[in-house]
Symmetry: C2
Subunit: 337 residues, 2 copies
DNA sequence: AGAATTCACTGAACCGGATAAGTTGTGGAG
DNA sequence: CTCCACAACTTATCCGGTTCAGTGAATTCT
């Protein structure tokens, strides 16, 4: 089946290719009557502009890129990324931008993908997740002048737009809540320690704990997987001075931690309170349901997409806080016995 | 920053654009010495062919499309799709194809996306998931002659390639296993009843149950979410003749079912055995760990991607069975008390 | 009324590759 | 020694849009 082109429309309307292009793009240069006739013909024959031709002459590919840099087995379990993608899509589809996805193994490979996409003119901008300290991707994006928006800061990204949630505030709120319940030994099982938002949380956790006079506040680094989260929990719980409350950096680790506690004969929340970061349906399914730091991840993603589209349009964008988590108390937190 | 083009390479190498094109694409028409010189220059200046220009002259966009048609809140929790995507990526990246993703609300919108993509020449083929009975997408894909591979059959897809797993066999194996343990009242909480693979499982479930003389085998339709799965479980367990074993069509519903059973004071597996379809880390995290139908979802996706790439290359492809689930017994199944 | 401006459109160049058709130069067969 | 075949290129055209520089006619201004 042959795809209709503007030449076909031009022939049927009895005008030139140029006139069709002006008409379909809302440019001046054609009368309203002609425009409507052309648009009607385009509708009728089901015309869609060839994106390659468009990208070749104009500048825009009408597509944005997203690279995900986590091993496959970690991606699968984390509801976070799917939520983020849903949010992107809502915004991108509305402006008929496509989303191009690539799963890679290392940040260095991510850089290579950016370079290739840029060279191929395949995308108009990228969404950068999992910002790290001295992230290798930032200078490359600046050098290529590739529009971008960074999720997972705040960090030092120069002129590149950022969307971030106030993780420090959320940690502080959570610790205060646990202390108010009477907890004095609070631990935290963190996500990948390279990630900037992990470091932000860790610093905020240390700060609030020492300001409240809790000396035994430890953060155990982990990697978001259930296995590691369980192991970290076991390590925390075998000591004599075991914590009475643990904050986990995601829900999967929190669920694993709950399982470990129960396996060790500890009552939740009687012997151990548990708080999960990010509130997927998972948290409500287990017994007891987990107190969680909820945030609207899809809206977070949508926000990032909006910022990226603005950056692509050449608007100056800055540093936006969006989707800050708030505490949703459920059955997994209580005063310690 | 200006993107290098073959014209730049041609100038530096002192040859014509055509020669560069032949050299970089491994076509005959240039000497080996010249080819190496050209390739070296391309390397040096970091050349990537403009995908738009390539798509415009040749036929290939070097991209495939995937539409996901589930509400955002269902996408997030299901590890299945992320696993599938990881599998695609592994195969696509190796042949430097991009994956374009679109989340839509209904199959009708999916069709529109296909039409648009085709018209825009944005993609070379699509991966179709969640095959339905009399699926509206199939005739459109045939009409557009858009290379495609269908996941979730087997069904009637004409000349379009299919990759499917032997769900009927897996159901049969599971029921036989439960009967061997001594169960006589087995129920099933299914996924979306419109989907063809759900119907396949339901038919196979009825067939094996009646062949084994189990008359009370019911399937309760659900929608893959924890909430619905929990509700369906509650409905099954409040009767007098409550089942002693339930098979769930995904792991999220199985975990929710487990929670409901425990909330109702039933011991798992003593009073109720539970089997989950698809074995994400989730299944091992809960207490007791869930007996599951494991399959390598990423490999399933990789297989589909390979078939699609073959179809794009014009090879005749058919009907392939891949990634059949096998039973992984864990702590959630035992003889009934 | 005549000049200036605006409008509605046409024609052609251009984006960056792929590729068919034409042009050399070289070596071997007759 | 001539002719032919073939390798090794060059030239030109095409893909399907966008956009700029015209062009003729209608309208406005003085």
């Amino acid at each position: 089946m042959k795809r209709p082109t503007i030449a076909d429309i031009a022939r049927r309307a009895g005008v030139s290719k140029g006139a069709v292009s002006y008409a379909l793009n809302g440019q001046p240069g054609v009368s309203e009557a002609t425009r409507q006739r052309i648009v009607a013909i385009a509708q009728e024959i089901g015309f869609n502009p060839n994106s390659a031709a468009r990208a070749l002459s104009g500048a825009s590919a009408r597509a944005v890129g997203l690279t995900l840099c986590r091993p496959a087995r970690m991606l699968g379990i984390e509801p976070f990324f799917m939520g983020l993608i849903s949010g992107f899509e809502a915004e991108l589809a509305a402006r008929s931008y496509a989303l191009t996805l690539q799963v890679v193994a290392t940040p260095e490979l991510e850089v290579e993908v950016y370079r290739r996409w840029w060279g191929e003119r395949r995308i108009d901008g990228v969404i950068v997740t999992d910002l790290r300290e001295n992230d290798v991707r930032i200078p490359v994006l600046q050098q290529l002048q590739l529009p971008a928006v960074v999720i997972g800061g705040p960090g030092d990204t120069g002129r590149i737009a950022q969307v971030w949630s106030d993780d420090a505030g959320a940690v502080t709120e959570t610790v205060r809540y646990l202390v108010a319940l009477g907890h004095r030994r609070i631990a935290r099982v963190s996500g990948l320690p390279d990630l900037l938002h992990t470091q932000t949380r860790t610093k905020a956790f240390s700060a609030v704990c020492s300001s409240l006079g809790l000396n035994e506040a430890v953060t155990v680094p982990s990697d978001y997987t259930g296995e590691e989260g369980g192991r970290a929990t076991r390590r925390l719980l075998i000591g004599n001075d075991r914590p009475t409350a643990i904050i986990y950096d995601n829900d999967v680790m929190a669920v694993a931690g709950l399982a470990v506690a129960q396996e060790m004969g500890l009552a939740v929340p009687g012997d151990l309170s548990i708080v999960a970061w990010d509130d997927s349906p998972l948290c409500s399914l287990v017994h007891p349901p987990l107190t969680a730091l909820s945030r609207d991840i899809a809206e977070y993603g949508a926000h990032a997409a909006r910022e990226l589209l603005a950056a692509i349009d050449g608007k100056q964008v800055g540093n936006v806080e969006a989707g800050t988590a708030h505490l949703t108390p459920r059955g997994s937190t209580a005063p310690p016995r």
